[in-house]
Structure formats: C-alpha cells, structure tokens
C-alpha cells in the first residue's frame, strides 16, 4: 500500500518521505475500518444538501 500511496502523491506533485508513506499506509487502513461504519444502503440516494446560493455572494 505504501508504494501505491507514493505513486498517487507523486502524480500530484507531492514528495512524500518513506516514514510518512508507512504512517499513511496505516492511516488508510484505519480509514478503511471507518468506511465500514458507513451504511451505503442508507445513503445512496440521500441528498448531500451541499448548496451554492444562486446569485453568488449576495453583496
């Protein structure tokens, strides 16, 4: 996984140290556990409610 992380970040122009690659790999595993708490069957058609006000900044 650490190598995959290195590739993704490198493509974005971000240099990441080996130490950080290892920590990030652990963090992504922890994130995967959190993802498992998400019940997608409850969410799939649920409006995310992110709105941008028509007319912009209302100034």
């Amino acid at each position: 996984m650490a190598q995959g992380i290195h590739s993704i970040l490198k493509e974005r122009g971000i240099q990441v140290s080996e130490v950080h690659q290892e920590i990030l790999a652990q963090q992504m595993k922890a994130l995967q556990k959190l993802r498992e708490t998400v019940d997608n069957s409850q969410l799939k058609d649920f409006d995310m409610a992110l709105t941008h006000m028509p007319g912009g900044e209302r100034l």
């Binding site: 990030l24 708490t37 409850q42 100034l59």
Partner: protein
C-alpha cells in the same frame, strides 16, 4: 489592586471602567504585567504589542473620561488567536509560510471588537494553521497549560485558552473546526463557546475547512461569553456561510433556573470510553442539575457511529485543498504533523467526501429530531485529561489510545452539524480541570448559555485556578 485587576471578568471590570473607578491604562498594565511574569513559561503569545496596547488604552481612557463610554467592552484588554486579520498587521496562522503575511483588511470580528473599544495587546499562539489539537507549534514554540506546564493546553486555540486561564487576556476568541475552541477551554478550565455555523462571520479568518470552521468566544465566565456573542453575532454579506437570523440579548436573558429542563444523554457515543475521573465529574454535575429540577432522558442518535468518518474525510479533504499548492511547492516549511495530515487529505476520494456530506445531513436530521424531545444534550468535552507535551497517545482507564483519534470524538459532531456547543469547567481532578459540553438546537445559543449559567452557579470548581495564579 492593580495586580488583581487582570483576574477579573469583563462583567466585573466593565462597571468599574464605566464609573471611572479604574482606568483602562491601569487595567492594561495589569494584564501586561502578567504577560511579563508568566508568558516566558507558558508561551501563549506569538507577538506582544505593549506600546500599541497602552496607546489604545489611553485613547479609551480619554473617551470614557469625556463621557463617551461605548459599552461593556470599552477599555477591555484582549489578545486574539493569530489567525484573525487585523488591517496592516502580520497574521502568521502559526506558520512559517505565512510568517511575513500582512493582512490588508480587518476580519469582521476584529472590526466589531474595535468598534466596541477593545484594547488589543497581542496575537496568540495556536496549532499551525489550526490543523491540530496540541498547540505544540514547531515555529513559535510549544504553548503550555497554566494548570501544569508539562501538559498541553489543547488546541488549536491553545494560546487563547492559556492566556485567559493565566489572566494574560481578559477574554479571547478562538476558532473551532473539530473542537478547537472547546478542547483548549476544557483543558485550561475556561468557557469556550462554538456558536451555530453562520452565527458569527468568518470573514477575515484564514480557513482550515470552510464547511466546519467557526469563530467563538473563550472567556472566564458564561456572562462574558454571552456578551461577546451579542457583539460578534449577526449576518455578514461578506461571509457566504453567514446566516441572517436575529441575535438576542444573550447576557441580559441569562437565567439559572433549570426546573423542567430536559437534558438528553447519548450514552452509546458520548459516554463510551471516558476516563473515570472525567465521567465522575460530569455525572456529579448532572445529578446536581437533577436536584434543581432538570430531568435526564436517554436518547439515541444512530448516525453518530459514522461521525468520525465524516469528520475525518471532510476536514482532511478541505484542508488539503486549501494548502495543496504549498504542499507541492514548499512542503518542508510545514511542521511534520501538519504535513502528514495534508498528505492524508490528498488520498481521500470524491466518493468519500460526498458520503461524508450525506452523513452530515443525516446527523443533522437526527439531532433536530432529538431536540424535539430534549432541550440540550450534555456530555464530557474530552474523554481524557490533557496529556503531557509530546505524547501521541492517551491513557483512558488503562487503555492506550491514539490522541488524534480520541481528541475530537465528542466535539466533532458539533462541527459536522453546526449546532451550538459550549464547554464549561465542571471540576478539578488530579490538579487538572474537566470540561462539560452542552449542545443545543440550531440558533438557540440562549438555551446552551442558560444551562451553562446554571452549572456555573453550582460552583463545581470551588474557585480553583491554576497554581501559577495562586502562587504569584
């Protein structure tokens, strides 16, 4: 007398200033004397502006002497977190990258405080870019907790909390994206209020995560928090997330009566894995409120199980979008912990982010349904006592857990939902203060403040302050 002035609250000082029993200059000198005495150890300040503060205090003195008293904040010395813009002054955001940045306008909150006659005496230390909860700043030095200099003051507004707790600022402001007002308020034994998202304008505050960021008061008393909310609240067309809802006379309506109040307790989330000392202090406060006529009702908010995912994904993604260019071009200028978090945010997927926003809406609906049954929710602010500087883990009843995972567990839902949340000290255990969190319905800060006022009247702190203060 002069030495004691800095220990007083806005509510105690304002009538004395108005009635010319004390002068703003005398008060500012008292606060600056404490900065001279204590900040060498605490390191709450990034910059101290003594000359400017005295000049401003003299102007306030002249105005008051000539009968132009502006109100409760006139002549009150305050230092603010170094993330809020003051026109033509540096704002570092606690970073190396913004070390030479000069703001060309005032933040809306700064404009409002200037109009109210506040005397500013410095900029306060913080976690770099507000992206962390320790205030162990690699560029400006670690800020230390006035209750125990070996422990962190919490963060990211650690300088604000430490300065207020050590009487180096009469009150202050913090910013809160995952708990950064309430965490240091709890750690340093003061009041921290994160109002409803949209209640206080964020214009002129450097962002960490637009949809989660809030600005709020950090004070010695509930009255002072109410007063500052009164001054700072209100619609601002310059902030696209500002909401046009009427504010109230929050300080004037404070009422300690909790008879008939229904307090919701979400045991499965907010009381799970809590240090026994913290749990005991919060339970004691709840029992006292029950004795005064409040009723406790156990509630369930199922989507809280997904709150950690939603908070982590939202904050890391938005923060990494803000700092992307600097992460590519000058990554070595970030502190190691912040750089790692920014790298992490680059790894989140678009699907993760959208699902996090779906969870936020679900949480908001569940909280709204809960507040149809209860008036407020009460929980600990933090599940542990503030750890020693440099610790990346915390001990909760013998379990060693990650500080980063645990620190925003109880405060994060307030940011995800935008609901008003306040931390108030509810006791001291093993020499450290413990914070109790009160959450309320959207735009009903008055409910949260009234419950806090009732808890303040219980005097659960028994007048205890940091030893630093008592031994001076």
């Amino acid at each position: 007398m002069t030495q004691e002035l800095a220990a007083l609250s806005i509510g105690e000082l304002a009538p004395k200033l108005r009635d010319k029993q004390i002068s703003p200059v005398e008060l500012t000198e008292s606060v600056l004397a404490n900065v001279d005495t204590y900040d060498h150890d605490i390191n709450a300040f990034i910059r101290i502006d003594k000359e400017k503060a005295i000049k401003s205090a003299k102007e306030a003195e002249q105005e008051i002497q000539s009968g132009n008293y502006r109100g409760f904040l006139h002549g009150i010395p305050m230092a603010l977190k170094d993330i809020l813009y003051f026109k033509d002054e540096p704002a570092t955001m606690g970073s190396k990258i913004h070390e030479g940045f000069i703001a060309d306008f005032d933040a809306t909150v700064v404009s409002k405080l200037k109009l109210s006659g506040v005397t500013f005496h410095g900029k306060l230390n913080m976690h770099e870019y507000a992206w962390g909860a320790t205030t162990t700043n690699p560029h400006y030095g670690a800020c230390r907790n006035p209750w125990d200099l070996n422990r962190i003051p919490g963060g990211s507004s650690g300088g604000s909390a430490a300065a207020v707790a050590a009487d180096m600022s009469i009150a202050s402001l913090g910013t809160d994206t995952g708990g950064s007002i309430r965490i240091p308020a709890s750690s340093c034994g003061i009041i921290g209020l994160k109002p409803t998202h949209g209640r206080i304008s964020k214009y002129g505050c450097f962002p960490l995560s637009w949809s989660l960021d809030h600005i709020g008061p950090m004070t010695k008393t509930v009255f002072d928090a109410a007063l500052l909310l009164e001054v700072l609240g209100g619609y601002d067309p310059k902030d696209p997330t500002s909401v046009d809802r009427p504010t109230q006379n929050y300080s004037g309506q404070l009422n300690e009566d909790v008879k008939g109040l229904v307090i919701g307790i979400e045991e499965g989330y907010f009381f799970k894995n809590v240090d026994n000392r913290v749990d005991e202090a919060v339970q004691k406060a709840l029992k006292q409120l029950e004795k005064l006529g409040a009723r406790i009702e156990v509630v369930q908010i199922p989507s809280l199980a997904q709150a950690e995912f939603a908070e982590l994904v939202t904050i890391t993604t938005e923060a990494s979008a803000i700092h992307h260019d600097n992460l590519v071009k000058q990554p070595e200028k970030f502190g190691d912990d912040v750089r790692l978090l920014l790298e992490m945010g680059e790894l989140m997927s678009g699907v993760d982010y959208v699902q996090a926003q779906q969870i936020r809406r679900k949480l908001n609906l569940e909280f709204a349904a809960t507040f149809e049954k209860v008036d407020v929710l009460i929980s600990p602010t933090l599940p542990f006592l503030p750890p020693a500087l440099g610790e990346s883990t915390v001990d909760i009843n013998g379990q060693t857990l990650s500080f980063l995972d645990e620190v925003i567990r109880f405060t994060g839902p307030g940011n995800l939902t935008g609901l008003p949340s306040l931390s108030i000290p509810c006791g001291v255990r093993d020499g450290m203060p413990i914070g109790l969190q009160i959450m309320g319905p959207a735009f009903q800060e008055e409910k949260v403040l009234n419950v806090a006022f009732a808890i303040e009247k219980l005097e659960l702190m028994n007048g205890q302050k940091p030893d630093l203060y008592r031994h001076r």
